[in-house]
């Protein structure tokens, strides 16, 4: 029964990424579709095998994204030249942002710093919130996965807290901590915790009964069963949760900084909006996107490593 369900899932997945045969598109599709680890089905491998040839794939990998970027730049330039006159053109954006990009770590003043320096502040904040999310989320996920009592009691409340927007948590954080910095970290933690909680719980519940029987026959203590059986068996699922959590943490940082005015990419974005320097809004958006993409890829690599081992 389960194998059947799995294979039909795999079929629908590869079916979704097939039309167009565009390798770049396929790639991003695959990374989004695989929200849960599915040991045994090598999705990327089967998707790749269907592609026409190696050469075409290499060219496609390099060229097609460039074409996409080019098209978007053209549309952007056309829009700013015609109907959206307040939207800075690509060239204007570059001119105004140049200093911030070419001297990325420069600190000229509290609110006037290189873009990577701002990014660094944001990343530090994200790291703190994310670390709290994982330190709380993973154990809660374990409890949720292991104890029926705990699951019955707390699953409903988790389902209710999960969809709450960062914009709603932040004021509560300010009330609780009186300062913007811990309030922002609190918001990041509250929002990014849930994928770790839920995927860990899923992973713990998916641990095969056979492994637990081995633990029972050997009379492993509770702690040993946890660290030698449950944790390693659930780890691939947990990492999927970690990855999704990091994505959310990065998403939330901008909102948190915008509302608190803390120095960082989000804070810079909001300040430049108020200062009417719209080019920097675009610079910030691009930076946020690129950093988010890089973080996701990084976690993806770690995840792959883990699953191959």
């Amino acid at each position: 029964m389960t194998t059947r369900a799995m294979s039909s899932e795999a079929i629908s997945d590869s079916g979704a990424s097939e039309p167009g045969g565009d390798p770049a598109l396929n790639d991003t599709n695959a990374s989004q579709v695989v929200a849960r680890p599915r040991p045994g089905t090598d999705l990327s491998g089967s998707a790749r095998a269907r592609l026409p040839s190696r050469l075409e794939q290499t060219i496609g990998n390099a060229a097609l994204p460039l074409i996409g970027v080019g098209v978007v730049l053209l549309l952007w330039a056309a829009a700013s030249a015609t109907f959206a006159s307040s939207l800075p053109s690509p060239s204007k954006t570059w001119e105004v942002s140049r200093l911030y990009v070419l001297e990325p770590f420069e600190k000229r003043g509290e609110l006037d710093q290189g873009i990577l320096r701002f990014t660094w502040y944001s990343l530090q904040r994200v790291t703190k919130g994310y670390a709290i999310a994982i330190l709380i989320g993973a154990p809660v996920g374990f409890l949720l996965g292991m104890s029926k009592l705990f699951r019955g009691s707390f699953d409903p409340i988790i389902q209710i807290l999960r969809p709450v927007s960062p914009l709603a948590w932040l004021p509560l954080g300010l009330v609780l901590f009186h300062k913007p910095e811990p309030a922002g970290i609190f918001t990041i933690a509250m929002c990014s915790m849930w994928p770790t909680v839920l995927n860990t719980a899923l992973g713990v519940r998916a641990v095969p009964q056979d492994y637990l029987n081995v633990a029972r026959v050997l009379k492993l203590s509770r702690a040993k069963t946890l660290f030698k059986i449950l944790l390693p068996a659930a780890l691939p699922y947990m990492f999927t949760g970690f990855r999704l959590s990091l994505g959310i943490a990065w998403l939330v940082i901008v909102a948190a900084e915008m509302l608190t005015g803390a120095p960082g990419v989000g804070g810079f974005l909001w300040q430049e909006y108020n200062a009417l320097i719209y080019e920097h809004i675009i610079l910030c958006i691009l930076t946020i996107g690129l950093v988010g993409f890089a973080l996701d890829r990084l976690m993806g690599l770690v995840e792959q490593r883990l699953r191959a081992a």
Binding site: D210, Y211, N213, V214, R216, V217, L218, K228, P232, L235
Partner: protein, 271 residues
């Protein structure tokens, strides 16, 4: 010590077990003496795995009692080692780490060097020295089952319970492993309960064979003693008259139980 050998090491007393509304085992009694090798043969789905789970203590009976050395069995423990049908190796540990998990647990009080030696000895016993650093995913089915066997034996159990240990393997690997099992059973002198659907395998390995009638509500049939001297040679076995006689009697019994089951099903469920 001498009177201990009269007491069955492991016994089922009129045991019944149901899952949901399906009665899997009904009124099963079984006594296993220390040092003997008992094979339980039956059709797939007859409740053989349930029987092993009861003997291991992984399941509790609905009715009747399971005793280990005369005392009621309430929980699983390393003194009854289990070789599971699907190996149940931990995929993130290497072959020797899998064995080591059991050794470290059972011989926790012994020095590390001694534990390592124990692991190596049993990896060697099943002929896997060359593959000890590989993970289960990099091993063939036969090799995985050897690791599982090494893990169970290295914990030095008083009874070794094997749940269709070779049924997932191809015929050639299966034959080779049967020979290994025959040797290991003989050399270790362990009490072994082997559940299998292969009558030849049962005759090769066992002192005593008990057929399990076709399920549901399976029960054990009359015992067949195997008096073929050891060591037994798998390929030479087919020419032994006793082998052919035993084989046809056991197969006849099993097929008979299945016909009876069908007949009673037809009688109770008129179309």
């Amino acid at each position: 010590m001498s009177d201990l050998s009269d007491v069955p090491i492991l016994a089922l007393h009129d045991v019944s077990k149901s899952f949901g509304t399906t009665r899997v085992l009904s009124g099963v009694s079984l006594q296993i003496s220390p040092g003997e090798v008992v094979a339980i043969v039956g059709f797939s789905g007859a409740g053989k795995s349930t029987l092993i789970a009861l003997l291991a203590g992984l399941e509790r009976p609905d009715q009747g009692r399971v005793t280990f050395r005369g005392r009621e069995l309430r929980a699983p423990g390393p003194e009854r080692g289990v070789v599971f049908q699907n190996y149940s190796l931990l995929p993130w540990l290497t072959a020797s780490e899998n064995v080591s998990l059991a050794v470290e647990q059972v011989f926790a009080h012994r020095p590390k060097a001694e534990q390592r030696a124990q692991v190596e000895r049993f990896i060697q016993m099943v002929g896997l020295e060359h593959a000890s650093a590989r993970k289960p995913g990099q091993l063939s089915g036969g090799m995985r089952q050897r690791v599982a066997l090494a893990r169970a034996l290295a914990a030095d159990p008083e009874v070794l319970l094997m749940d269709e240990p070779l049924s997932a393997l191809d015929a050639l690997t299966r034959g080779t492993l049967q020979d290994s099992l025959e040797r290991i059973a003989r050399e270790s002198g362990k009490t072994i309960v082997l559940v299998t659907n292969d009558v030849d395998e049962a005759i090769l390995l066992a002192d005593r064979i008990l057929p399990l009638s076709a399920g549901p509500a399976a029960t054990l049939g009359p015992e067949f003693r195997v008096n073929i001297p050891r060591p037994r040679e798998r390929r030479a076995l087919s020419s032994v008259p006793e082998f052919r006689h035993l084989r046809s009697s056991i197969v006849d019994y099993l097929l008979g139980s299945k016909r009876e089951r069908r007949a009673s099903d037809a009688a109770t469920q008129p179309s």
